[in-house]
Amino acid sequence: MSDRGGLSLHVPAPGRRPGEAADFSSVALEPSVQRPEIDTRAADMRDQVFSLIRVLDESGRASGPWNPSLDADTLRRGLRAMLLTRAFDERMFRAQRQGKTSFYVKCTGEEAIACAQAMVLDRADMCFTTYRQQGILITRGYPLVQMMNQIYSNARDPLKGHQLPILYSARDYGFFTLSGNVGTQYAQAVGWAMASAYRQDTRIASAWIGDGSTAEGDFHYALTFAAVYRAPVVLNIVNNQWAISSFQGIAGGEATTFAARALGYGLPGLRVDGNDFLAVYAASKWAVERARSNLGATVIEFYTYRSEGHSTSDDPSKYRPADEARHWPLGDPIERLKQHLLVAGHLSEADYAAMLAEVTEEVRTAARESEAVGTLGKSRPDAAVMFDDIFEQPDWRIKRQRDEAGV
């Protein structure tokens, strides 16, 4: 008999729960030293999934092979989109606390990811997002007041009160209807991309998932179908370290990176500093150009940190050190891009203050307009619309039940 003893079950633990010290010493920050050509075979760029694409250094200077060398105007537009997204989040979070809506999800600390990729994509490219890519809608200029009307489920809610706050749909803005079931959209995005290729269109799809939901079967379906049919899709994984209270190790992030998932499917993978606007832009550009050149899908892991709670329904200090966000080594995306613009001489502190005041006023104006229509419970669409849009034409059951409801 062997003396190796009995087996033991391993359950990953973050080692950074309340009362423990915040610790990011194991974070792999090895920089990516090479930008491959977009037609590089997946097998010839495997090192990318274990390194980190970074452009901005600690002092705000841009360097390295991935520097997208953007002009000042583009950079300022990016900064403004991120600032507007943050201002919107803060206002809506407060609105939930004031009882004006039931639910809200912020993307604080992750703004660069959605905003930069939205600037790379064409407006007609379809985004299949999670609930934390409101930055895409905002960057594409979707009216803030419409978002708020949806969040308040008021009489002007574009989704007729059918859907939970923040689960937007905006077809004309290339923004696919959001599901509350995490992960389902990932494989749908691949189908949409296959359709575009089938029609010999030029549009591509942008798919989004969180580190936690990569454990869903839909993730495997998506990567399998994307690889098999060489679908023109960018498969984004936002690794923000936390799925509500579960650290990314519970989704399988302990032994390898999420970008490395790509290797088993024969897809190229990139791993990116998600708090570096320029790195996000550059990696997105690489993947978008590859997809649009009919070279197929790319998996991108954006390495970032969810610096606030999952949603308005949880208190992160109950499951992670209260000061963990302060120890996050990759900083804040807005601060970092601002620093870059300051260092490059493309922005002054006064310009920044003016920009901040402008976006704050933009959000305030939209909120005033939306709240004049009404907030949750104070205003809502006509109850008869409860029976709309089940089928294109209602069948007898729907008509009869609408009568029964007396609406």
Partner: protein, 337 residues
């Protein structure tokens, strides 16, 4: 007109729609080069091209998810799930996604797609090749469920399903692919060519969703059935010499409640037949609707003749599968109650 069995009629429907509409495309496990394990897509890839009819990975959830994305783009995907028993990995995508896109986006997005799947028992397929899961789709708002019983209807209903603006679950009773099996397993199967519904136009035509067919008129009671059970019910009525009206529902969602209510209000008695397990089966819904619509005309309690509430047992195919005798017994009880 041509004489076709169910497989040929379904193949013809797909062929016609591939030719008519470049946005129609087909994919699923083994449907491409090989033409499907039941041959429904035979020859379509060769005739219409690789991208119009192609093989998919063994991933039912992925097949349906991809179809949803394609439908949202503007194509009309027709996907095959090789056996209805295998559809459950796709259930989340069907229930939470395909059925809900239109509602949750207030009409901005929809999923006009068809999920075809061979279904039902009578082929010694055991637990995983015999089940009848229609009730789990009928229960979901936003899905339509179609179950044809003969070649003519199969082609016309499949074309209607492809044209439909909403997602359709199209269940093909595999026991009647080659002939109208009537539950008498110990007798030779009559081929479709001996049945009038095998006369099928070669070109385009439709049979509308939501319209039942009275396949045998009668006045003493009404038998409600669909799929293979239509033929078993007809055999039971013939063998028992009953003056029964047999209604083939053809689509269970949308349901032709008016035809059902008109018939039962006239006959005053009702027997419901389906292969699926009884508890919460579609027969429960039918019985409730008959009570709501026909209570004051009913002369007897409505009976259900259904699959038993067990998994589908391999060795006991003909004890489990509904035979004319079980229906005859039920009709006797309802007529004498």
């Amino acid at each position: 007109m041509a004489v076709m069995n169910m497989v040929q009629a379904l193949n013809s429907a797909l062929d016609v729609m591939l030719a008519r509409d470049p946005d129609v495309l087909i994919f699923g496990e083994d449907v491409g080069y090989f033409g499907g394990v039941f041959r429904v897509t035979d020859g379509l890839q060769k005739k219409h091209g690789l991208t119009r009819c192609f093989d998919a990975p063994i991933a039912e959830g992925g097949i349906v998810a991809a179809a949803i994305g394609m439908a949202a783009y503007g194509l009309k995907p027709v996907v095959e799930i090789q056996f209805a028993d295998y559809i459950l990995p796709a259930y989340d995508q069907l229930v939470s996604e395909a059925a809900r896109l239109r509602y949750r986006s207030a009409g901005e997005f929809s999923a006009p797609m068809v999920v075809r799947s061979p279904y039902g028992g009578g082929i010694f397929g055991g637990q995983t090749h015999s089940q009848s899961p229609e009730a789990i789709f009928a229960h979901v708002s936003g899905l339509k469920t179609v179950i044809p019983s003969n070649p003519y209807d199969a082609k016309g209903l499949l074309i209607s399903s492809i044209l439909d603006p909403d997602p359709v679950i199209f269940l093909e009773p595999k026991r009647i692919y080659t002939g109208p099996f009537d539950g008498n397993h110990d007798r030779p199967l009559t081929p479709w060519s001996k049945h009038p519904a095998s006369e099928v136009p070669q070109d385009y035509y439709t049979v509308p969703l939501g319209e039942a067919a009275i396949v045998r008129p009668g006045s003493a009671l009404t038998v409600l059935a669909y799929g293979t059970m239509v033929h078993v019910a007809l055999a039971a009525v013939d063998e028992g010499g009953f003056d029964a009206e047999v209604i083939d529902l053809r689509t269970i969602m949308p349901l032709d409640i008016d035809s059902i209510a008109a018939s039962v209000n006239r006959t005053g008695r009702c027997v419901i037949v389906h292969e699926a397990t009884r508890t919460c089966g579609f027969g429960a819904e039918l019985a409730a609707l008959v009570e709501e619509r026909c209570f004051y005309h009913l002369e007897a309690p409505t009976e259900r003749v259904t699959g038993f509430d067990t998994p589908y047992p391999h060795a006991f195919e003909w004890e489990y599968f509904i035979t004319p005798k079980r229906i005859i017994d039920a009709i006797h009880r309802v007529l004498t109650a």
